[in-house]
């Protein structure tokens, strides 16, 4: 016979599992969508070396997305594979940050987007290395190494673009102004975040913000770039309220599976 407290614990665990599913899925979506965006640079980069570098980063992000999707599928317990989750969810079911779905724009736009994201990922995975969930901590241990390198790469470029020529400075400043409004969303703390952080499984995004701000401000300052004064923050990605860019991107990404469902490739 099951005691009342055991039932409560098991309910608790079940609740955590479902929360963790949504949490892991949101982070999977961030990486999947940015990988898809970044891969658009392949064969279009400013030089061959950078083509290879961007493809490397896209591959890292895709690899991370796949691990997270796979784990999300296990947590959900409905037998959905990484491809089921990637290809058969609609725009409203994707919970990625709005930042990562923004179009590539020019090289400055992509590098600013990447830098803002890399700085966030570095802080996030560093914290998640300490997650009480062994699988998530394992993924974090791998992700943090990649994220640090990505941050070094985007930071290196930001400095060169910010302090390169008048044109590169202008383009980079413009990119920062276009993207800054999407950064606050990274640190919004939902009920899910709070509960998972309370259980030692996740982290409260708000806690990552001060460190992130100090880090990016330092680099922007070194690069001679001004953080916009505009306090308007656009959010909604975590609850499936996206910009118009995501739908078109998914239409392309999911087309094969939707056109020929149920086949092996």
């Amino acid at each position: 016979m099951t005691s009342r407290s055991e039932t409560a614990t098991s309910c608790h665990r079940e609740e955590h599992r479902q929360l963790l599913f949504r949490y892991v899925l949101a982070h999977a979506d961030d990486n999947l969508i940015l990988a898809q965006r970044l891969s658009g640079w392949i064969s279009r980069a400013p030089d061959l070396e950078e083509d290879i570098a961007m493809a490397n980063i896209a591959l890292d992000l895709l690899g991370r997305a796949r691990m997270l999707l796979d784990y999300a599928g296990q947590l959900e317990g409905r037998d959905r594979s990484e491809d089921d989750l990637a290809m058969f969810r609609s725009e409203r079911e994707f919970t990625n940050l709005l930042l990562v779905e923004q179009p590539n724009g020019d090289f400055a736009h992509t590098m600013v987007r990447q830098f803002l994201y890399d700085a966030y990922q570095t802080a996030l995975w560093k914290s998640l290395c300490g997650s009480a969930d062994a699988t998530l901590a394992g993924i974090a241990g791998k992700a943090i190494k990649e994220a640090r390198y990505h941050l070094r790469h985007s930071g290196t470029w930001l400095l060169r673009l910010g302090r390169g020529t008048e044109e590169s400075h202008r383009r980079t400043q413009r990119a920062l102004e276009g993207l800054w409004r999407f950064t606050a969303e990274m640190f919004e703390t939902s009920e899910t975040d709070r509960k998972l952080a309370g259980a030692g499984l996740g982290v409260e995004p708000a806690g990552l913000q001060p460190g992130w701000e100090r880090g990016v401000e330092k680099v922007f300052c070194e690069a001679g770039l001004q953080i916009p004064n505009d306090r308007f923050a656009r959010s909604g990605g975590r609850s499936g309220f996206h910009t118009e860019h995501l739908g078109l991107m998914l239409a392309e990404m999911q087309w094969m599976q939707r056109a020929y469902p149920g086949m092996q490739w």
Partner: protein, 324 residues
Amino acid sequence: MANERSFVTISVVSAQHPGRARFEALLAAEEKVEPADWMPEGYRKTLIRQIAQHAHSEVIGMQPEGNWISRAPTLKRKAILMAKVQDEAGHGLYLYSAAETLGITRDEMVRLLHEGKQKYSSIFNYPTLSWADIGCIGWLVDGAAITNQVMLTRCSFGPYARGMVRICKEESFHQRQGFQIMETLCRGSAEQREMAQDGLGRWWWPSLMMFGPHDSDSTHSDQSMAWKIKRVSNDDLRQQFVDMTVPQADYLGLTVPDPELRWNPERGHYDFGEIDWDEFWAVVRGNGPMNRERIAHKRAAWYDGAWVRKAASAYAARHTGQVG
């Protein structure tokens, strides 16, 4: 390296040059010629032309496959395809480096490509119209390339041969992943098999064209063979490819689009039909299905990136004392 690169710009060509005997001796002894060695001007020019075209082929070749990265049917296929296209950028880079040891810069080669003065393999002037085309490129185009590249690991010019060793090693997965795509399609639905057959139908003949004109029409082949840049003739390589590939098509249950194809027990080889040489030359002359699009894409990327390259040079000049 540094001094080797500048040394080869010396272009005193005379039959009596003291380096000539040494050059001939190196070839005879199957030793590699290195960039700092004296070499006939024709040898240098032939190599620059060939290595640059090979490099351009790798880089332009990123486009037809890159066309399917965003639409790859599964995330695993997407990852494999991205890694493969990225490898091609790497291979282009290794080859540009090999050509640079001959006293030409990458910028110069890129300019010649953009101006249509240096070409790339015609195969990349065909479009990728379905997922099966990604399979066909790996299976047939990389298959044909490997046949050729294995030969080039024995090329007499050291940097080219070394580059080829590295490329062959890295490319070993390329052909396999292509064949695996085809195999999966052929074991799938009727629609998928149709996709695979359509792909083979469009890629078979262009793949055979990759080996170039008949030996009897290949005016520069003899000299390249004598210089040991090229080790096997076009027709021999093509035959080797057909003999290798037809049984694979049979295994897949696909029909090779050549009514004259049949095993010839006397020769111990497959007999096959004649290539449409009018199409072949039309594509070489720039009138293939995708010639203009490929170059336009490449030029756009290069010119769009100009301000980035300039910014990085300006930064380096100011912060590291290196002059741009």
